[in-house]
Subunit: 320 residues, 2 copies
Protein backbone atom coordinates (compact mmCIF):
# COMPACT_ATOMS: atom_id res chain seq x y z
CA UNK A 1 0.00 0.00 0.00
CA UNK A 2 1.92 2.98 -1.30
CA UNK A 3 1.67 6.64 -2.21
CA UNK A 4 3.31 9.45 -0.29
CA UNK A 5 1.07 8.98 2.77
CA UNK A 6 0.40 5.20 2.78
CA UNK A 7 -2.28 3.59 4.99
CA UNK A 8 -2.74 6.61 7.28
CA UNK A 9 -4.40 8.37 4.36
CA UNK A 10 -5.72 5.39 2.36
CA UNK A 11 -7.57 3.74 5.24
CA UNK A 12 -9.63 6.78 6.30
CA UNK A 13 -10.31 7.51 2.61
CA UNK A 14 -11.59 3.93 2.29
CA UNK A 15 -13.98 4.45 5.20
CA UNK A 16 -15.21 7.68 3.57
CA UNK A 17 -15.72 5.94 0.24
CA UNK A 18 -17.66 3.07 1.83
CA UNK A 19 -19.94 5.64 3.50
CA UNK A 20 -20.50 7.47 0.21
CA UNK A 21 -20.99 4.49 -2.13
CA UNK A 22 -23.34 1.82 -0.73
CA UNK A 23 -22.57 -0.56 -3.62
CA UNK A 24 -18.85 -0.50 -2.89
CA UNK A 25 -16.89 -3.33 -1.25
CA UNK A 26 -13.20 -2.82 -0.52
CA UNK A 27 -10.28 -5.19 -0.03
CA UNK A 28 -7.26 -3.41 1.44
CA UNK A 29 -3.92 -5.11 0.78
CA UNK A 30 -0.97 -3.99 2.86
CA UNK A 31 1.41 -4.67 5.68
CA UNK A 32 -0.11 -5.96 8.92
CA UNK A 33 1.72 -3.42 11.13
CA UNK A 34 0.23 -0.52 9.23
CA UNK A 35 -3.28 -1.88 8.72
CA UNK A 36 -4.13 -3.73 11.93
CA UNK A 37 -4.24 -0.48 13.93
CA UNK A 38 -7.40 0.52 12.06
CA UNK A 39 -10.87 -0.77 12.64
CA UNK A 40 -13.81 0.40 10.57
CA UNK A 41 -17.08 1.73 11.98
CA UNK A 42 -19.36 -1.26 12.68
CA UNK A 43 -21.80 -0.21 9.94
CA UNK A 44 -19.07 -0.54 7.28
CA UNK A 45 -17.30 -3.66 8.52
CA UNK A 46 -19.27 -6.04 6.31
CA UNK A 47 -18.02 -4.32 3.15
CA UNK A 48 -14.36 -4.08 4.13
CA UNK A 49 -11.66 -6.76 4.23
CA UNK A 50 -7.97 -6.63 4.93
CA UNK A 51 -5.36 -8.81 3.27
CA UNK A 52 -1.91 -8.78 4.82
CA UNK A 53 1.24 -9.07 2.74
CA UNK A 54 4.86 -8.48 3.72
CA UNK A 55 6.20 -6.90 0.53
CA UNK A 56 5.94 -3.28 -0.55
CA UNK A 57 7.06 -1.75 -3.87
CA UNK A 58 9.27 1.27 -3.18
CA UNK A 59 8.69 4.53 -5.07
CA UNK A 60 12.07 4.35 -6.84
CA UNK A 61 12.13 0.63 -7.72
CA UNK A 62 12.45 -0.04 -11.43
CA UNK A 63 9.42 -1.77 -12.96
CA UNK A 64 11.58 -4.48 -14.54
CA UNK A 65 13.09 -5.48 -11.22
CA UNK A 66 9.70 -5.46 -9.46
CA UNK A 67 8.37 -7.80 -12.16
CA UNK A 68 11.36 -10.15 -11.77
CA UNK A 69 11.36 -10.11 -7.95
CA UNK A 70 9.80 -13.06 -6.09
CA UNK A 71 8.53 -10.90 -3.23
CA UNK A 72 4.75 -10.77 -3.03
CA UNK A 73 3.79 -7.13 -2.53
CA UNK A 74 0.51 -5.33 -1.85
CA UNK A 75 0.38 -4.56 -5.61
CA UNK A 76 0.57 -8.29 -6.39
CA UNK A 77 -2.14 -9.05 -3.84
CA UNK A 78 -4.55 -6.45 -5.27
CA UNK A 79 -4.03 -7.57 -8.87
CA UNK A 80 -4.35 -11.25 -7.94
CA UNK A 81 -7.67 -10.51 -6.25
CA UNK A 82 -8.90 -9.16 -9.61
CA UNK A 83 -7.32 -12.02 -11.54
CA UNK A 84 -9.11 -14.53 -9.30
CA UNK A 85 -12.44 -12.74 -9.51
CA UNK A 86 -12.45 -11.74 -5.84
CA UNK A 87 -12.42 -8.09 -6.92
CA UNK A 88 -13.71 -6.35 -10.08
CA UNK A 89 -11.14 -3.57 -10.18
CA UNK A 90 -8.09 -2.30 -8.32
CA UNK A 91 -6.29 0.88 -7.41
CA UNK A 92 -2.84 1.95 -6.22
CA UNK A 93 -1.22 5.25 -5.25
CA UNK A 94 2.28 3.74 -5.51
CA UNK A 95 5.04 3.50 -8.12
CA UNK A 96 3.31 4.09 -11.49
CA UNK A 97 5.70 2.12 -13.68
CA UNK A 98 5.66 -0.92 -11.39
CA UNK A 99 1.85 -0.81 -11.10
CA UNK A 100 1.51 -0.73 -14.90
CA UNK A 101 4.08 -3.50 -15.45
CA UNK A 102 2.51 -5.80 -12.86
CA UNK A 103 -1.00 -5.08 -14.15
CA UNK A 104 0.07 -6.07 -17.67
CA UNK A 105 1.74 -9.20 -16.41
CA UNK A 106 -1.08 -10.42 -14.14
CA UNK A 107 -4.17 -9.24 -16.03
CA UNK A 108 -2.99 -9.16 -19.66
CA UNK A 109 -3.93 -6.74 -22.43
CA UNK A 110 -7.09 -6.83 -24.53
CA UNK A 111 -6.81 -8.50 -27.97
CA UNK A 112 -5.12 -6.15 -30.45
CA UNK A 113 -3.46 -3.97 -27.80
CA UNK A 114 0.34 -3.90 -27.63
CA UNK A 115 0.65 -1.75 -24.57
CA UNK A 116 -1.92 -0.21 -22.21
CA UNK A 117 -2.25 3.54 -21.91
CA UNK A 118 -2.99 5.84 -18.99
CA UNK A 119 -5.87 8.28 -19.25
CA UNK A 120 -7.20 11.15 -17.20
CA UNK A 121 -9.92 13.78 -17.66
CA UNK A 122 -8.89 17.42 -18.07
CA UNK A 123 -11.33 20.05 -16.82
CA UNK A 124 -12.75 22.40 -19.40
CA UNK A 125 -14.98 25.34 -20.11
CA UNK A 126 -18.59 24.90 -19.02
CA UNK A 127 -17.86 21.67 -17.15
CA UNK A 128 -16.79 19.78 -20.30
CA UNK A 129 -14.13 17.15 -19.79
CA UNK A 130 -11.47 16.18 -22.30
CA UNK A 131 -10.02 12.70 -21.88
CA UNK A 132 -6.25 12.76 -22.48
CA UNK A 133 -4.06 9.71 -23.14
CA UNK A 134 -1.33 8.46 -22.91
CA UNK A 135 0.04 10.08 -19.77
CA UNK A 136 3.39 8.39 -19.45
CA UNK A 137 3.05 4.63 -19.87
CA UNK A 138 4.52 4.84 -23.40
CA UNK A 139 7.22 7.42 -24.04
CA UNK A 140 8.05 6.61 -27.66
CA UNK A 141 4.92 5.74 -29.59
CA UNK A 142 4.42 4.37 -33.09
CA UNK A 143 1.56 5.40 -35.39
CA UNK A 144 -0.04 2.01 -34.71
CA UNK A 145 0.01 2.68 -30.97
CA UNK A 146 -1.52 6.15 -31.39
CA UNK A 147 -4.32 4.52 -33.42
CA UNK A 148 -4.85 1.96 -30.65
CA UNK A 149 -4.94 4.75 -28.05
CA UNK A 150 -7.68 6.48 -30.06
CA UNK A 151 -9.81 3.33 -29.87
CA UNK A 152 -9.08 2.96 -26.15
CA UNK A 153 -9.97 6.58 -25.43
CA UNK A 154 -13.12 6.42 -27.56
CA UNK A 155 -14.25 3.35 -25.60
CA UNK A 156 -13.64 5.19 -22.33
CA UNK A 157 -15.68 8.18 -23.57
CA UNK A 158 -18.49 5.82 -24.59
CA UNK A 159 -18.38 4.16 -21.16
CA UNK A 160 -18.89 7.67 -19.75
CA UNK A 161 -22.03 8.08 -21.83
CA UNK A 162 -20.91 9.75 -25.07
CA UNK A 163 -22.39 7.76 -27.94
CA UNK A 164 -20.12 9.20 -30.62
CA UNK A 165 -17.06 10.83 -29.12
CA UNK A 166 -14.97 13.37 -31.02
CA UNK A 167 -11.41 12.03 -31.08
CA UNK A 168 -8.37 14.15 -31.98
CA UNK A 169 -4.59 13.82 -32.19
CA UNK A 170 -2.51 16.38 -30.29
CA UNK A 171 -0.19 18.24 -32.66
CA UNK A 172 1.80 21.47 -32.95
CA UNK A 173 -0.94 23.01 -35.11
CA UNK A 174 -4.39 22.23 -36.49
CA UNK A 175 -3.44 22.34 -40.18
CA UNK A 176 -3.38 18.90 -41.88
CA UNK A 177 0.28 19.14 -42.96
CA UNK A 178 1.65 19.70 -39.44
CA UNK A 179 3.58 17.28 -37.23
CA UNK A 180 5.92 14.32 -37.41
CA UNK A 181 5.65 11.44 -39.91
CA UNK A 182 4.35 9.25 -37.07
CA UNK A 183 1.46 11.63 -36.39
CA UNK A 184 0.74 12.07 -40.10
CA UNK A 185 0.56 8.31 -40.48
CA UNK A 186 -1.72 7.90 -37.45
CA UNK A 187 -4.04 10.62 -38.80
CA UNK A 188 -4.32 8.87 -42.17
CA UNK A 189 -5.33 5.62 -40.49
CA UNK A 190 -7.76 7.27 -38.08
CA UNK A 191 -9.54 9.08 -40.90
CA UNK A 192 -11.07 5.69 -41.80
CA UNK A 193 -12.44 5.03 -38.32
CA UNK A 194 -16.05 3.88 -38.02
CA UNK A 195 -16.31 3.72 -34.23
CA UNK A 196 -16.03 7.47 -33.48
CA UNK A 197 -15.63 10.88 -35.12
CA UNK A 198 -11.97 11.54 -35.83
CA UNK A 199 -11.77 15.33 -35.97
CA UNK A 200 -8.09 15.62 -36.93
CA UNK A 201 -5.48 17.64 -35.06
CA UNK A 202 -5.86 19.84 -32.03
CA UNK A 203 -3.12 21.89 -30.38
CA UNK A 204 -2.24 22.56 -26.75
CA UNK A 205 -4.52 25.58 -26.54
CA UNK A 206 -7.55 23.41 -27.41
CA UNK A 207 -7.14 21.01 -24.49
CA UNK A 208 -9.27 22.98 -22.03
CA UNK A 209 -11.67 24.35 -24.64
CA UNK A 210 -14.25 21.58 -25.09
CA UNK A 211 -13.14 21.09 -28.72
CA UNK A 212 -12.62 17.32 -28.48
CA UNK A 213 -13.83 14.56 -26.15
CA UNK A 214 -10.68 12.45 -26.46
CA UNK A 215 -7.17 13.70 -27.25
CA UNK A 216 -4.41 11.23 -28.07
CA UNK A 217 -0.68 11.86 -27.73
CA UNK A 218 2.55 10.08 -26.81
CA UNK A 219 3.04 9.48 -23.09
CA UNK A 220 5.94 11.90 -22.76
CA UNK A 221 3.92 14.85 -24.01
CA UNK A 222 0.76 13.83 -22.15
CA UNK A 223 2.70 13.53 -18.90
CA UNK A 224 4.23 17.01 -19.30
CA UNK A 225 0.91 18.63 -20.29
CA UNK A 226 -1.02 17.02 -17.42
CA UNK A 227 1.54 17.75 -14.73
CA UNK A 228 2.25 21.32 -15.83
CA UNK A 229 -1.48 22.09 -16.08
CA UNK A 230 -2.13 20.62 -12.65
CA UNK A 231 0.70 22.68 -11.20
CA UNK A 232 -0.85 25.84 -12.66
CA UNK A 233 -4.28 24.93 -11.31
CA UNK A 234 -2.86 24.19 -7.89
CA UNK A 235 -1.27 27.64 -7.77
CA UNK A 236 -4.73 28.95 -8.50
CA UNK A 237 -6.67 27.23 -5.76
CA UNK A 238 -3.83 27.49 -3.26
CA UNK A 239 -3.99 30.24 -0.64
CA UNK A 240 -1.16 32.70 -0.97
CA UNK A 241 0.79 33.57 2.17
CA UNK A 242 1.26 37.15 0.99
CA UNK A 243 -2.44 37.92 0.55
CA UNK A 244 -4.13 40.78 2.39
CA UNK A 245 -6.88 40.26 4.97
CA UNK A 246 -9.58 41.08 2.41
CA UNK A 247 -8.07 38.69 -0.11
CA UNK A 248 -7.91 35.84 2.38
CA UNK A 249 -11.42 36.41 3.70
CA UNK A 250 -13.33 37.13 0.55
CA UNK A 251 -11.45 36.75 -2.69
CA UNK A 252 -9.52 33.53 -2.21
CA UNK A 253 -12.52 31.50 -1.00
CA UNK A 254 -14.43 32.76 -4.03
CA UNK A 255 -11.57 31.77 -6.31
CA UNK A 256 -11.33 28.32 -4.75
CA UNK A 257 -15.10 27.86 -5.17
CA UNK A 258 -15.16 29.18 -8.72
CA UNK A 259 -12.40 26.83 -9.84
CA UNK A 260 -13.46 23.99 -7.56
CA UNK A 261 -14.14 21.51 -10.36
CA UNK A 262 -10.69 22.34 -11.79
CA UNK A 263 -8.88 21.22 -8.63
CA UNK A 264 -6.63 18.24 -9.53
CA UNK A 265 -7.37 16.64 -6.14
CA UNK A 266 -11.05 16.48 -7.10
CA UNK A 267 -10.25 14.80 -10.41
CA UNK A 268 -7.73 12.30 -9.07
CA UNK A 269 -7.61 8.79 -10.56
CA UNK A 270 -6.13 7.84 -13.94
CA UNK A 271 -7.57 4.76 -15.68
CA UNK A 272 -5.23 2.24 -17.29
CA UNK A 273 -6.86 1.38 -20.62
CA UNK A 274 -6.29 -1.72 -22.71
CA UNK A 275 -6.16 -4.24 -19.88
CA UNK A 276 -8.61 -7.10 -19.28
CA UNK A 277 -9.86 -5.49 -16.06
CA UNK A 278 -10.28 -2.15 -14.31
CA UNK A 279 -7.01 -0.74 -12.96
CA UNK A 280 -6.72 2.81 -11.61
CA UNK A 281 -3.73 4.86 -10.52
CA UNK A 282 -4.02 7.57 -7.89
CA UNK A 283 -1.56 10.44 -7.60
CA UNK A 284 1.10 9.52 -5.08
CA UNK A 285 0.57 12.88 -3.42
CA UNK A 286 -3.23 12.60 -3.23
CA UNK A 287 -4.82 13.29 0.13
CA UNK A 288 -7.99 11.73 1.53
CA UNK A 289 -10.28 13.69 -0.77
CA UNK A 290 -8.26 12.70 -3.81
CA UNK A 291 -8.15 9.05 -2.82
CA UNK A 292 -11.94 8.93 -2.45
CA UNK A 293 -12.11 10.33 -6.00
CA UNK A 294 -9.77 7.63 -7.29
CA UNK A 295 -11.82 4.92 -5.56
CA UNK A 296 -14.92 6.37 -7.20
CA UNK A 297 -13.12 6.33 -10.56
CA UNK A 298 -12.44 2.58 -10.17
CA UNK A 299 -16.06 1.99 -9.06
CA UNK A 300 -17.46 3.86 -12.11
CA UNK A 301 -15.07 2.06 -14.47
CA UNK A 302 -16.39 -1.25 -13.08
CA UNK A 303 -20.05 -0.17 -13.17
CA UNK A 304 -19.80 0.98 -16.80
CA UNK A 305 -17.75 -2.10 -17.77
CA UNK A 306 -14.93 -0.02 -19.22
CA UNK A 307 -12.86 -3.01 -20.46
CA UNK A 308 -15.93 -4.54 -22.14
CA UNK A 309 -16.81 -1.24 -23.85
CA UNK A 310 -13.25 -0.95 -25.17
CA UNK A 311 -13.29 -4.58 -26.34
CA UNK A 312 -16.28 -3.74 -28.57
CA UNK A 313 -14.35 -0.88 -30.17
CA UNK A 314 -11.31 -3.04 -30.74
CA UNK A 315 -13.47 -5.51 -32.65
CA UNK A 316 -14.31 -2.64 -35.02
CA UNK A 317 -10.62 -1.75 -35.31
CA UNK A 318 -9.76 -5.33 -36.27
CA UNK A 319 -12.56 -5.34 -38.82
CA UNK A 320 -11.17 -2.18 -40.54
CA UNK B 1 3.58 41.80 -42.42
CA UNK B 2 1.49 39.00 -40.96
CA UNK B 3 -0.22 37.78 -37.82
CA UNK B 4 -3.96 37.56 -37.42
CA UNK B 5 -4.44 41.34 -37.42
CA UNK B 6 -1.67 42.55 -39.77
CA UNK B 7 -0.67 46.22 -40.07
CA UNK B 8 -3.78 47.59 -38.35
CA UNK B 9 -2.42 46.18 -35.12
CA UNK B 10 1.33 46.16 -35.83
CA UNK B 11 1.57 49.82 -36.89
CA UNK B 12 -0.09 51.33 -33.80
CA UNK B 13 1.95 48.92 -31.64
CA UNK B 14 5.08 50.23 -33.36
CA UNK B 15 4.13 53.83 -32.52
CA UNK B 16 3.56 52.79 -28.89
CA UNK B 17 6.92 51.02 -28.75
CA UNK B 18 8.75 54.02 -30.20
CA UNK B 19 7.15 56.21 -27.53
CA UNK B 20 8.18 53.81 -24.77
CA UNK B 21 11.73 53.00 -25.87
CA UNK B 22 13.75 56.10 -26.87
CA UNK B 23 16.68 53.97 -28.10
CA UNK B 24 14.46 52.07 -30.55
CA UNK B 25 14.41 52.57 -34.32
CA UNK B 26 11.90 50.61 -36.41
CA UNK B 27 11.79 49.55 -40.05
CA UNK B 28 8.35 48.29 -41.02
CA UNK B 29 8.29 45.98 -44.06
CA UNK B 30 4.93 45.36 -45.70
CA UNK B 31 2.60 46.01 -48.56
CA UNK B 32 2.22 49.62 -49.67
CA UNK B 33 -1.60 49.54 -49.62
CA UNK B 34 -1.68 48.54 -45.99
CA UNK B 35 1.16 50.72 -44.71
CA UNK B 36 0.86 53.98 -46.62
CA UNK B 37 -2.39 54.85 -44.84
CA UNK B 38 -0.46 55.36 -41.61
CA UNK B 39 1.68 58.31 -40.68
CA UNK B 40 3.52 58.46 -37.37
CA UNK B 41 3.35 61.35 -34.90
CA UNK B 42 5.96 63.94 -35.95
CA UNK B 43 8.02 63.30 -32.81
CA UNK B 44 8.56 59.67 -33.80
CA UNK B 45 9.03 60.05 -37.55
CA UNK B 46 12.83 60.21 -37.38
CA UNK B 47 12.99 56.74 -35.83
CA UNK B 48 10.53 55.02 -38.17
CA UNK B 49 10.96 53.89 -41.78
CA UNK B 50 8.71 51.95 -44.11
CA UNK B 51 9.91 49.47 -46.72
CA UNK B 52 7.36 48.37 -49.27
CA UNK B 53 7.30 44.84 -50.68
CA UNK B 54 4.64 43.08 -52.74
CA UNK B 55 4.85 39.56 -51.34
CA UNK B 56 3.28 38.22 -48.17
CA UNK B 57 3.72 34.75 -46.63
CA UNK B 58 0.31 33.21 -45.98
CA UNK B 59 -0.43 31.54 -42.64
CA UNK B 60 -0.82 28.07 -44.20
CA UNK B 61 2.09 28.15 -46.67
CA UNK B 62 4.59 25.36 -46.10
CA UNK B 63 8.04 26.56 -45.04
CA UNK B 64 9.76 24.54 -47.78
CA UNK B 65 7.73 26.20 -50.53
CA UNK B 66 8.26 29.68 -49.06
CA UNK B 67 12.00 29.05 -49.07
CA UNK B 68 11.92 27.87 -52.71
CA UNK B 69 9.63 30.65 -53.94
CA UNK B 70 11.17 33.62 -55.79
CA UNK B 71 8.65 36.11 -54.39
CA UNK B 72 10.21 38.69 -52.10
CA UNK B 73 7.98 38.94 -49.04
CA UNK B 74 7.93 41.20 -45.98
CA UNK B 75 9.71 38.39 -44.11
CA UNK B 76 12.53 38.45 -46.68
CA UNK B 77 12.78 42.23 -46.47
CA UNK B 78 13.06 42.23 -42.66
CA UNK B 79 15.70 39.47 -42.59
CA UNK B 80 17.68 41.12 -45.40
CA UNK B 81 17.76 44.36 -43.44
CA UNK B 82 19.44 42.43 -40.60
CA UNK B 83 21.72 40.55 -43.00
CA UNK B 84 22.88 43.87 -44.49
CA UNK B 85 23.39 45.53 -41.13
CA UNK B 86 20.56 48.02 -41.61
CA UNK B 87 18.81 46.47 -38.60
CA UNK B 88 20.14 44.64 -35.52
CA UNK B 89 17.18 42.35 -34.99
CA UNK B 90 13.82 41.45 -36.50
CA UNK B 91 10.36 40.31 -35.55
CA UNK B 92 7.34 38.72 -37.23
CA UNK B 93 3.85 37.72 -36.12
CA UNK B 94 3.35 35.55 -39.23
CA UNK B 95 3.78 31.88 -40.19
CA UNK B 96 6.21 30.44 -37.60
CA UNK B 97 7.68 27.66 -39.76
CA UNK B 98 8.32 29.99 -42.69
CA UNK B 99 9.86 32.65 -40.43
CA UNK B 100 12.23 30.07 -38.92
CA UNK B 101 13.17 28.57 -42.30
CA UNK B 102 13.85 31.95 -43.89
CA UNK B 103 15.79 33.14 -40.84
CA UNK B 104 18.04 30.07 -41.02
CA UNK B 105 18.54 30.56 -44.75
CA UNK B 106 19.31 34.27 -44.70
CA UNK B 107 21.11 34.66 -41.35
CA UNK B 108 22.65 31.23 -40.81
CA UNK B 109 23.19 29.33 -37.57
CA UNK B 110 25.98 29.85 -35.06
CA UNK B 111 28.99 27.50 -35.31
CA UNK B 112 28.16 24.10 -33.78
CA UNK B 113 24.37 24.52 -34.05
CA UNK B 114 22.45 22.17 -36.33
CA UNK B 115 19.06 23.76 -35.95
CA UNK B 116 17.86 26.84 -34.09
CA UNK B 117 15.39 26.52 -31.23
CA UNK B 118 12.51 28.68 -30.08
CA UNK B 119 12.40 29.87 -26.50
CA UNK B 120 9.93 31.65 -24.27
CA UNK B 121 9.74 32.55 -20.58
CA UNK B 122 7.14 30.84 -18.40
CA UNK B 123 5.83 32.81 -15.43
CA UNK B 124 6.50 31.36 -12.02
CA UNK B 125 6.04 31.71 -8.30
CA UNK B 126 7.38 34.94 -6.82
CA UNK B 127 8.02 36.49 -10.23
CA UNK B 128 10.64 33.88 -11.21
CA UNK B 129 10.80 33.05 -14.90
CA UNK B 130 11.68 29.67 -16.37
CA UNK B 131 13.04 29.75 -19.92
CA UNK B 132 11.59 26.85 -21.92
CA UNK B 133 12.93 25.55 -25.24
CA UNK B 134 12.34 24.17 -27.86
CA UNK B 135 8.76 25.27 -28.53
CA UNK B 136 8.12 23.65 -31.88
CA UNK B 137 10.98 24.32 -34.28
CA UNK B 138 12.26 20.74 -33.84
CA UNK B 139 9.71 17.98 -33.35
CA UNK B 140 12.02 14.97 -33.24
CA UNK B 141 15.20 15.77 -31.38
CA UNK B 142 18.41 13.82 -30.93
CA UNK B 143 20.44 13.80 -27.70
CA UNK B 144 23.00 16.01 -29.46
CA UNK B 145 20.30 18.59 -30.22
CA UNK B 146 19.01 18.57 -26.63
CA UNK B 147 22.58 19.26 -25.49
CA UNK B 148 22.84 22.14 -27.96
CA UNK B 149 19.52 23.53 -26.72
CA UNK B 150 20.87 23.50 -23.16
CA UNK B 151 23.81 25.66 -24.25
CA UNK B 152 21.48 27.98 -26.20
CA UNK B 153 19.11 28.36 -23.24
CA UNK B 154 21.96 28.89 -20.78
CA UNK B 155 23.31 31.67 -23.00
CA UNK B 156 19.89 33.29 -23.08
CA UNK B 157 19.63 33.11 -19.28
CA UNK B 158 23.08 34.66 -19.00
CA UNK B 159 22.07 37.44 -21.39
CA UNK B 160 19.18 38.09 -18.99
CA UNK B 161 21.63 38.55 -16.12
CA UNK B 162 21.96 35.10 -14.52
CA UNK B 163 25.65 34.37 -14.12
CA UNK B 164 25.25 30.64 -13.55
CA UNK B 165 21.86 29.42 -14.68
CA UNK B 166 20.36 26.15 -13.44
CA UNK B 167 19.60 24.06 -16.54
CA UNK B 168 17.33 20.99 -16.50
CA UNK B 169 15.90 18.44 -18.92
CA UNK B 170 12.14 17.95 -18.93
CA UNK B 171 11.26 14.33 -18.17
CA UNK B 172 8.39 12.17 -16.91
CA UNK B 173 9.97 12.07 -13.44
CA UNK B 174 12.90 13.47 -11.50
CA UNK B 175 14.61 10.12 -10.76
CA UNK B 176 17.84 9.54 -12.74
CA UNK B 177 16.61 6.31 -14.39
CA UNK B 178 13.51 7.89 -15.97
CA UNK B 179 12.87 8.74 -19.62
CA UNK B 180 13.81 7.67 -23.11
CA UNK B 181 17.31 6.60 -24.21
CA UNK B 182 17.65 9.97 -26.00
CA UNK B 183 17.04 11.88 -22.75
CA UNK B 184 19.30 9.55 -20.78
CA UNK B 185 22.07 10.15 -23.31
CA UNK B 186 21.59 13.93 -23.23
CA UNK B 187 21.69 13.91 -19.41
CA UNK B 188 24.97 11.97 -19.41
CA UNK B 189 26.56 14.52 -21.74
CA UNK B 190 25.19 17.53 -19.88
CA UNK B 191 26.54 16.26 -16.56
CA UNK B 192 29.99 17.29 -17.83
CA UNK B 193 28.97 20.85 -18.64
CA UNK B 194 31.24 23.65 -17.43
CA UNK B 195 29.18 26.62 -18.63
CA UNK B 196 26.18 26.23 -16.32
CA UNK B 197 24.74 24.09 -13.51
CA UNK B 198 23.03 21.05 -14.98
CA UNK B 199 20.54 20.04 -12.28
CA UNK B 200 19.20 16.88 -13.96
CA UNK B 201 15.55 16.15 -14.66
CA UNK B 202 12.48 18.17 -13.83
CA UNK B 203 8.88 17.17 -14.52
CA UNK B 204 5.87 19.12 -15.74
CA UNK B 205 4.83 20.14 -12.25
CA UNK B 206 8.19 21.92 -11.74
CA UNK B 207 7.81 24.27 -14.71
CA UNK B 208 6.06 27.06 -12.81
CA UNK B 209 7.84 26.43 -9.51
CA UNK B 210 11.12 28.35 -9.86
CA UNK B 211 13.08 25.08 -9.67
CA UNK B 212 15.17 25.69 -12.80
CA UNK B 213 16.14 28.74 -14.87
CA UNK B 214 16.22 26.89 -18.19
CA UNK B 215 14.24 23.76 -19.11
CA UNK B 216 15.07 21.87 -22.30
CA UNK B 217 12.70 19.55 -24.18
CA UNK B 218 11.80 18.48 -27.70
CA UNK B 219 9.74 20.99 -29.67
CA UNK B 220 6.61 18.85 -29.75
CA UNK B 221 6.37 18.66 -25.96
CA UNK B 222 7.42 22.29 -25.44
CA UNK B 223 4.75 23.45 -27.89
CA UNK B 224 2.01 21.47 -26.13
CA UNK B 225 3.09 22.58 -22.65
CA UNK B 226 3.33 26.25 -23.62
CA UNK B 227 0.04 26.41 -25.51
CA UNK B 228 -1.95 24.41 -22.95
CA UNK B 229 -0.55 26.50 -20.08
CA UNK B 230 -1.34 29.74 -21.90
CA UNK B 231 -4.87 28.54 -22.56
CA UNK B 232 -5.34 27.85 -18.84
CA UNK B 233 -3.94 31.25 -17.90
CA UNK B 234 -6.17 32.95 -20.43
CA UNK B 235 -9.24 31.31 -18.91
CA UNK B 236 -8.05 32.76 -15.64
CA UNK B 237 -7.65 36.40 -16.64
CA UNK B 238 -10.63 36.34 -18.97
CA UNK B 239 -13.90 37.84 -17.74
CA UNK B 240 -16.64 35.26 -17.56
CA UNK B 241 -19.97 36.11 -19.16
CA UNK B 242 -21.87 34.23 -16.47
CA UNK B 243 -20.39 36.15 -13.56
CA UNK B 244 -22.53 38.00 -11.02
CA UNK B 245 -22.42 41.80 -10.54
CA UNK B 246 -20.16 41.42 -7.49
CA UNK B 247 -17.82 39.12 -9.38
CA UNK B 248 -17.55 41.48 -12.32
CA UNK B 249 -17.05 44.58 -10.17
CA UNK B 250 -14.74 43.30 -7.49
CA UNK B 251 -13.45 39.78 -7.90
CA UNK B 252 -12.56 39.59 -11.56
CA UNK B 253 -10.55 42.84 -11.58
CA UNK B 254 -8.70 41.56 -8.52
CA UNK B 255 -8.01 38.26 -10.22
CA UNK B 256 -6.78 39.97 -13.38
CA UNK B 257 -4.49 42.20 -11.30
CA UNK B 258 -3.19 39.38 -9.15
CA UNK B 259 -2.29 37.23 -12.16
CA UNK B 260 -1.29 40.17 -14.33
CA UNK B 261 2.31 39.05 -14.83
CA UNK B 262 1.02 35.61 -15.81
CA UNK B 263 -0.96 36.99 -18.75
CA UNK B 264 0.45 35.46 -21.97
CA UNK B 265 -0.16 38.74 -23.82
CA UNK B 266 2.24 40.48 -21.43
CA UNK B 267 4.93 37.88 -22.04
CA UNK B 268 4.56 37.72 -25.81
CA UNK B 269 7.68 37.25 -27.96
CA UNK B 270 9.63 34.02 -28.41
CA UNK B 271 13.34 34.30 -29.21
CA UNK B 272 14.87 32.11 -31.93
CA UNK B 273 18.17 30.90 -30.48
CA UNK B 274 21.19 29.64 -32.38
CA UNK B 275 21.08 32.14 -35.27
CA UNK B 276 23.72 34.74 -36.06
CA UNK B 277 21.34 37.59 -35.22
CA UNK B 278 18.32 38.47 -33.12
CA UNK B 279 15.06 37.04 -34.47
CA UNK B 280 11.80 37.12 -32.51
CA UNK B 281 8.40 35.56 -33.16
CA UNK B 282 5.21 37.14 -31.88
CA UNK B 283 2.03 35.16 -31.34
CA UNK B 284 -0.13 35.45 -34.43
CA UNK B 285 -3.08 36.35 -32.22
CA UNK B 286 -1.23 39.02 -30.23
CA UNK B 287 -2.93 42.37 -29.89
CA UNK B 288 -1.25 45.77 -29.59
CA UNK B 289 -0.10 45.18 -26.01
CA UNK B 290 1.42 41.84 -26.94
CA UNK B 291 3.16 43.23 -30.00
CA UNK B 292 4.80 45.97 -27.94
CA UNK B 293 6.06 43.21 -25.64
CA UNK B 294 7.51 41.29 -28.58
CA UNK B 295 9.21 44.45 -29.93
CA UNK B 296 10.69 44.98 -26.46
CA UNK B 297 11.88 41.33 -26.45
CA UNK B 298 13.77 41.95 -29.72
CA UNK B 299 15.18 45.22 -28.36
CA UNK B 300 16.43 43.53 -25.16
CA UNK B 301 17.91 40.61 -27.10
CA UNK B 302 19.86 43.16 -29.20
CA UNK B 303 20.90 45.26 -26.18
CA UNK B 304 22.20 42.20 -24.29
CA UNK B 305 23.83 40.77 -27.44
CA UNK B 306 22.03 37.47 -27.15
CA UNK B 307 23.74 35.81 -30.15
CA UNK B 308 27.18 36.90 -28.88
CA UNK B 309 26.46 35.56 -25.38
CA UNK B 310 25.40 32.21 -26.86
CA UNK B 311 28.48 32.11 -29.09
CA UNK B 312 30.66 32.25 -25.95
CA UNK B 313 28.85 29.24 -24.51
CA UNK B 314 29.18 27.29 -27.72
CA UNK B 315 32.95 27.81 -27.60
CA UNK B 316 32.88 26.03 -24.20
CA UNK B 317 30.75 23.24 -25.68
CA UNK B 318 33.26 22.69 -28.49
CA UNK B 319 36.10 22.65 -25.97
CA UNK B 320 34.42 19.85 -23.92
Amino acid sequence: MGGDFGPRCIVPASFDALERFPALHLLLCGQRDALSAWSPPASLAARLQFEYVDGLVGPDERPASVVRSRTRTSMHAALEAVQQGRAQGCLSAGNTGAWMALARLLLGTLPGIDRPAMMSALPGQGGHQTLLLDLGANLDTTAEQLVQFAYLGAGAAQARGLARPRVALLNVGREPGKGTPVIQDAARRLAESQAFDFIGFVEGSDLYAAVADVVVCDGFTGNAVLKSGEALLRLLVERSGTASWLERQLLQPWLARRFRHWDPELRNGASFLGLNAVVVKSHGAAGEVGLVQAIERALRDVETDLPGRIRLNLAVLKAV
